[in-house]
C-alpha cells in the first residue's frame, strides 16, 4: 500500500455545478460569436498583463507560459497563445487541483498553486496558479482561471535545471493545490516558504505577482462579461462554442482516412543510464474519432524524462490541433474527438514518485502522431530537428558581483513538406512562439562571449524539398561557470519522408578543438575561464528524392551556402563549375533515362 500523496488517496468531492434554475434557450450564432469574442479577449488581457509584469525572461522574453479560462464544469472556454503543451496540460491540472481542494473549500478571492507533477502535467517549476471565480447567488465557482509559467527556482537539488533526479523529492518544493491567496489577501506563510526555499526568491516571487495580476484582470473581465450578457447567457454561449469546436474538429477528423498506423521514435536516454528509450504510438481513426495509444512504449525510467499523463495529453492535443483546427483559438470541444491511452507506470503516464523534471521526452514525442499519420496524410511535413536543443549557463559574474542563470532556446530546421522546403532556424513545433535570447542580453547578464552564431551548411536533410537548416552557436566563458546542454535527441536522426534524407541530429561539443572535446546530449559541465562550447542544432528532414530537386534551387542553395558544392554534386546530382554554370551528374541523368525507359 503506497503512502504517497496519490491523487486517489484524497476523497474526490462533487464537481458538478449547481444546475441552473432556468436553462436559457439556444442562442443565435451571432450572439454566441459576440460573447466568444469577449471571452477570448479576457484571456488576451490576462496574457498581456503577465508579459508586462513578469520578472523572469523565460516568461517575458521567451514567452514560456500558458493561460486558460475554464467554465464551472472545468471545460476550456478560451486560452491565450503560449506554449502549446502547457495549454493542454492546464485542462487536466484544473480538474485535479479542484478535486484535491474540493469546491466547497474554495471562496471568492482565493488563489491556489499547483505543481505536483502528476496532477499538474508539468515539472515542478512550471507552477500553475489558479483561481475560482464566484458570482452572487452561487456557492460554487462559476469559472476558473489558470496561469502557468516557468518559475526560476523552487529549491530543487541543483541550481538552474535538474538533469539527474531519480524521484520527485529532488525536484523542488511541491504544492498540491495550496492556497496562496485567501479572500484577496496573500498568504504570507506560503510566500515566505517560497522565499526561503528558492535560490532566486526575487525573481520567483516577482513572477508570482505577475501571475496574480493576470488572474485579477481575468476575474474582472469575467465579471464584466457576466454583467453585460447575463451569466446564464454566457454559459449557454460557451456551451455552443464548445459544441461548435467539437463539430469543426469532428468534421476535420472525418475528412482523414480511416485506419490504424504506428510509429516509433527514440529518446537518447534517461540521463542516469545510456540506454536509448523507445516510444511508440498507434493512431487509429474511425469516422470522426481518433485514438492515440502509447501502449508498448518504454516503462517509466529512473531518470527525470518521465511524463505525467497531463504532459502527454498536452503534447497530443497540440499535435492533434495542428492536424485539425490549427487556425482556431482552442476550446474544450476541439479535443472531444480525441482519446488518449497511456498505461499507468509507463513513460507516458508516470506516477509518484517518478522523476519528471526534464521533459524533453515530451518535445520529442510531439511529432510522434505526425510520424504515424504521415503514412497516409501527405500534407504532413517531415520531422523538424527532433527536439528543442537549447542550453543554459550558470555562474558568477564579477562585473556585477552577482550570480546569473541564463537560458536559450535555439531554432532548428523544420521538416520539408511535399510542397516546400522546411523553414531555417525556427523554434521546435512544441514551442513555436518561444524566442531565442539575444546575444546582447546573454552577454550582459552572463560572463560569456559569443564566437559565432550561424546557420549550418549541409545540416538540412536533403530531398526534392530539403529540410530547414540548423544553427551553430560557439560560446566562450570569460569567467568560470557551468553549462547545461539541453537536448534529448542526439543519438538518432530526425525522420524524413518519401525518400528524403535524414539530417544529422543536434549535439553540443564541449571544449571543442582540445583533447578533452566531448560530444554530449543532456549534460552539465563546469567551464573554466576561456573554455568554449559549440551548440549545433539539427536541420529538418527532407521530403522526396534529392535527385528530383529543381537543379536551379540547388544552385541557389549553393550560392547562399545552405548547401555545399560537394553535396550539390554528390547528393543532388548537380555539378557546379567554377564559372558558375552547372550540369546534371550521371546520378540524375541515368536515373531520368531509367525512369523514362521504364515508362
Amino acid at each position: 500500500m503506497s503512502t504517497s500523496p496519490n491523487p486517489t488517496a484524497t476523497a474526490p468531492t462533487a464537481t458538478a455545478p449547481a444546475p441552473t434554475a432556468t436553462a436559457p434557450e439556444r442562442l443565435d450564432g451571432a450572439t454566441v460569436e459576440v460573447i466568444r469574442n469577449y471571452v477570448v479577449s479576457a484571456a488576451e488581457q490576462m496574457r498581456r498583463t503577465l508579459v508586462r509584469s513578469a520578472f523572469n525572461p523565460v516568461i517575458y522574453d521567451v514567452l514560456d507560459f500558458g493561460i486558460s479560462i475554464f467554465n464551472a464544469d472545468q471545460e476550456l472556454m478560451a486560452e491565450a497563445s503560449g506554449i502549446t503543451h502547457f495549454l493542454g496540460a492546464n485542462d487536466r491540472a484544473i480538474v485535479e487541483g479542484t478535486r484535491y481542494i474540493g469546491l466547497e473549500n474554495m471562496g471568492p478571492g482565493d488563489v491556489f498553486i499547483l505543481n505536483y507533477p502528476y496532477w499538474s502535467g508539468a515539472h515542478a517549476y512550471d507552477a500553475m496558479l489558479f483561481a475560482p471565480v464566484f458570482v452572487d447567488g452561487r456557492d460554487t465557482p462559476a469559472a476558473f482561471l489558470a496561469v502557468r509559467a516557468h518559475w526560476m527556482d523552487l529549491g530543487a537539488k541543483s541550481p538552474g535545471y535538474v538533469l539527474d533526479s531519480t524521484d520527485m523529492h529532488q525536484e523542488g518544493l511541491i504544492f498540491p493545490g495550496t492556497r496562496i491567496v485567501k479572500g484577496g489577501e496573500i498568504v504570507r506563510d506560503i510566500t515566505e516558504l517560497i522565499r526561503f526555499n528558492s535560490r532566486l526568491p526575487e525573481l520567483t516571487l516577482g513572477d508570482f505577482h505577475a501571475q496574480l495580476a493576470a488572474l485579477r484582470v481575468g476575474e474582472r473581465s469575467l465579471h464584466q462579461i457576466w454583467q453585460k450578457f447575463g451569466i446564464e447567457n454566457v454559459e449557454q454561449a460557451i456551451r455552443q462554442v464548445i459544441e461548435h469546436g467539437e463539430a469543426v474538429a469532428r468534421k476535420a477528423v472525418a475528412a482523414l482516412p480511416d485506419g490504424s498506423w504506428t510509429a516509433t521514435d527514440y529518446i537518447d536516454d534517461d540521463n542516469i543510464t545510456d540506454d536509448i528509450i523507445e516510444i511508440t504510438i498507434r493512431v487509429t481513426i474511425e469516422g470522426d474519432s481518433i485514438t492515440a495509444d502509447y501502449t508498448g512504449s518504454s516503462p517509466a525510467v529512473p531518470g527525470p524524462v518521465n511524463l505525467p499523463i497531463g504532459s502527454t495529453e498536452g503534447i497530443v492535443k497540440a499535435s492533434f490541433k495542428s492536424l485539425t483546427t490549427a487556425d482556431e483559438p482552442s476550446n474544450a470541444g476541439h479535443f472531444r474527438p480525441l482519446t488518449i491511452i497511456a498505461e499507468e507506470g509507463s513513460i507516458f503516464n508516470a506516477v509518484y514518485p517518478s522523476a519528471t523534471f526534464t521533459q524533453w521526452s515530451a518535445i520529442v514525442a510531439v511529432e510522434l502522431m505526425h510520424k504515424a499519420l504521415a503514412q497516409v496524410i501527405d500534407a504532413i511535413p517531415a520531422s523538424g530537428g527532433g527536439d528543442e536543443p537549447g542550453f543554459m549557463a550558470l555562474g558568477h559574474d564579477s562585473r556585477t558581483d552577482a550570480d546569473y542563470v541564463v537560458s536559450n532556446n535555439e531554432g532548428i530546421g523544420w521538416g520539408a513538406t511535399k510542397d516546400h522546403d522546411g523553414g531555417n532556424a525556427q523554434q521546435h513545433a512544441s514551442q513555436t512562439t518561444v524566442r531565442n535570447t539575444p546575444i546582447e542580453i546573454l552577454e550582459h547578464k552572463a560572463a560569456l562571449l559569443h564566437e559565432r552564431l550561424e546557420l549550418i551548411q549541409d545540416s538540412a536533410g536533403a530531398g526534392r524539398y530539403r529540410g530547414g537548416v540548423g544553427v551553430l552557436r560557439e560560446v566562450r566563458y570569460t569567467e568560470p561557470g557551468e553549462v547545461l546542454s539541453m537536448k534529448k535527441k542526439t543519438k538518432t536522426k530526425p525522420w524524413a519522408l518519401a525518400g528524403g534524407h535524414e539530417p544529422e541530429p543536434s549535439e553540443m561539443v564541449i571544449w571543442p578543438g582540445t583533447d578533452r572535446a566531448k560530444r554530449v546530449g543532456m549534460y552539465r559541465a563546469s567551464m573554466a575561464a576561456g573554455e568554449r562550447f559549440v551548440n549545433r542544432t539539427a536541420g529538418g528532414g527532407g521530403h522526396g528524392d534529392p535527385l528530383d530537386r529543381d537543379p536551379r534551387a540547388v544552385v541557389e542553395d549553393v550560392i547562399d551556402g545552405y548547401v555545399s558544392a560537394e553535396s550539390a554534386r554528390d547528393t543532388y546530382g548537380v555539378d557546379i563549375h567554377p564559372d558558375g554554370t552547372w550540369t546534371e551528374t550521371t546520378d540524375r541523368t541515368d536515373r531520368t533515362t531509367r525512369s523514362h525507359s521504364q515508362e
Binding site: 454566441v32 479572500g183 468534421k251 546582447e440 550561424e454 547562399d560
Partner: protein
Amino acid sequence: MNAPRLKVAVDIGGTFVDAISYDTVNGEISVYKVSTTPEEPARGVLGGIEGLLDSVGSDIADIESFAHGTTLGLNAILQRNGATVGIITNEGFSDLLEIARAAIPSSQMYNFSYQRPAPLVPRRHRLGVPGRLDAQGDEVTPLDEAAVVEAGRVLVEEHGLTSIAVCFLHSYADPSHERRAGELLREAFPGVAVSISSDLTREYREYERTSTVTLDAYIRPVLNDYIGSLEGKLADGGLTTPLHIMRSGGGAMSAAVAKQAPLMTVLSGPAGGVVGTTFLARELGVANMLSFDVGGTSVDSCVVVDGQPSEVHEAEIDGLPLLLPIFDIRTIGAGGGSIAWMDEGLLKVGPRSAGAVPGPVAYQNGGTEPTVTDAAFALGFLDPAAFLGGQMAVSADAARAAIAVKVAESLGLDETTAAASILRILVARTVGALREITIERGLDPREFTLLAFGGAGPLLAPMLSREMGIKTTLVPRVPAAFSAFGMLMSDLEFEFAATALKPLDDDVLDGLEDQFVELEARAVAVLDQQEVAEDARDYVRTLDVRYRGQEHSLPVEFRSGDTAADVLAAFNDLHAVRHGHAMDEPGQILSLRLKAVGVQPKPPLVRIDAVPDAGSAPVAIGTRRAFDMATDDWAEFRVFDRAGLLAGHRIPGPAIVEEGTSTTVFFGDQVLVVDDYGHLAITQTAATPTTTVPSGGAL
C-alpha cells in the same frame, strides 16, 4: 500681398492624396482629394496642393507651413520593392537577420508546416568582418578596416547592390566601429546609400537593431530620391517655407533629417491621427481620449492620457521589428470591407476583406460576399443615392439580398437582425482590443472619450460607445481627412536614446548627467539645423526604469534635481497603476531618453457661429428609415447636413449627420450636441447595461 496664413498638410494614402489647409485667420478647414500617382508620387502631392489652393482661392505664397506624410517607405517594405541591400556585420554573425528570434507568429502556433518569409537580404549579401566589442563596449578585436572596404566592394561591385546596412554587436554601447565602417564605405562607394544601426537606435538586442537598419537601408534610396525631387518641385513652384516630413512617432522633421533617417517616416500615416487626437485632447481639456480610426480594412486605436499619447519604442512591419519611437497604435484587422461569413453555425466577420475589387456587394462590382459596409447599407445607415456624392451606383437591395442568402438563412434570423449582428460582431472585436490597450495602462475604457475619424469611424463609434459604456463620442471636423489635420498640428520632434543598464542610485544619476549632456548636444545640433528659435525649444529627459531582473521598463520623467529615491517613487507609482502592484526591489535604469521639441505655432481652435437659442434642434434635410440599435427596431431617423449645424445645436437620436465623405449615425438612447468649435459630441441619455458594471473583483 497678405502675410502667409495657410497651414497646409498633404497625406499620401493608398488610393488618395488628402490635401488639407487650415486658415489661421478665420479657422476655415478645406480638404481636397486627388488620386495617387504611384509612378511619380511627387506629382500627386503637387496636384493636391494646386487643387487645394484653387479651391480656397489662394496661391502658394499664402502657405505659412507645409507638412507631408508619406507611405512610400511603408509600401516599399510591404510590397518588397525597396533597394537591393547588403549587410556588413561581425565575422561569424552574418546570419542574425535570418535566424532572427526563431519564433513563429502566434497565429501560426499550431502550423507545423510554417515557413517564415524569405529574409529581406539573402544570405549571399550578408558579410562578416573581423572586429568585436563586448557588452561594456570595450574592444575585444579591433575593426579590420581593409575587410570592411573589401566587403563593400563585393556587395557593390560584384553583386551590384545600391544600399548597405551596417550593424555590429554591442554598438549601442560604443558606436565607434560602426561609425568608422560607415565612413570607410561612404568614402569608397560614394554612390551607395549607407545606413548605420547606432545612428537609428542605441538600444540593445542585435536582431531587432539589424532589422531596423536593414529596413532603413531598404527604403533609403527610394525616400531620398522622392524627398529630393519633391523639394525641388516645391521650390520651383514658389514654396518658400521649409518642407516638413511626418515622423512615425509624431511630430515632424525637416526634409534634410528625413533623408538622413528615412525609416522615421515609415509609420507616419496613422501617426497624423494620433497627433490630431492629442491636439484636441489638450485643447478641449479631455483627460483620457481614445483615437478610433476606421478605414476599409482596419481599425486603429491609440490611448491619449493627460495630453500624452501612448508611445512604444518598438514596432513591427510585416513581422519585421523596428526599434524606433512610435505611437502605441493597436490595429484590429477588420473594417468596412471585412467579409461576414458562416462557420459551422457561427457568424464570423473578417479577417478576409472584399478590398477595393470587387468591394462590397452594394457597389455591384462583382462582390457576392456581404461586408460590414453592406450591413450599413442594409440597415439604412448609409444612403445609396448620396454615397460619395452620388458618384457611384450603389444598391442597398443587393446588400440586403446577399446578407439574406449568405448569413441570415443559416443563422435562422431575419436579414435585418443578421445585418445588425455583423456590426455587433465587429464592435465586439473592437471592444476587446480597446479593453486590452486601456487595461495595460491600468485604466478603464469607460473613462475615455472616443474620437471617431477615418471614413467609417463616425458610423461605428456611437455603436461602440453604447456597447462599452463610453460616455462621450466626439466627431471632429472633416473626420475623413483627420490624419492630415493632425499633421497641421505637429511640432518638430527628435528623440535621442542611450542604453544605460545601471542600478538606480544617486551616484549613477550623477554619472548620467554627462550622457544627457551628450544627447543634448546632438539635439541642439539638430534644432540648429532646423532653425528652431531659442524660445521655441523644449527638452524632456526620461529614464526607462525597471526592477532589477525585470525586462519591461516604464518611462519616468527625470527632472533636474531628482534623486534616485524620487525616481524610484515615481516608478513605483506608475508600476502600481500599470501592473496592479509595486515591489520592494531596487530599481535599474535601462536607458535614458531625450526628446527635443521645436514648438511650432499652432492656431487655437476657432469657434464656429452659434445658434441663438442653445439646445434647439437644427432643421433636418430629410428622414431615412434605419435600424435603431437602442430599440432593436426600425425607426425614422432624421437626417442633417453637417454644413448646416451651428454651435449649441442639439439633436436627440435617432438621427444621421451627413457630410461628403463621412456619415455619423446615432441612436434613440443618444443625443448629439454641437460644441463651440463644431465638433459633434454624442452622449448617452439612458444608461445602457454596461454603465452599471462594477469593475472590482474578489482578488
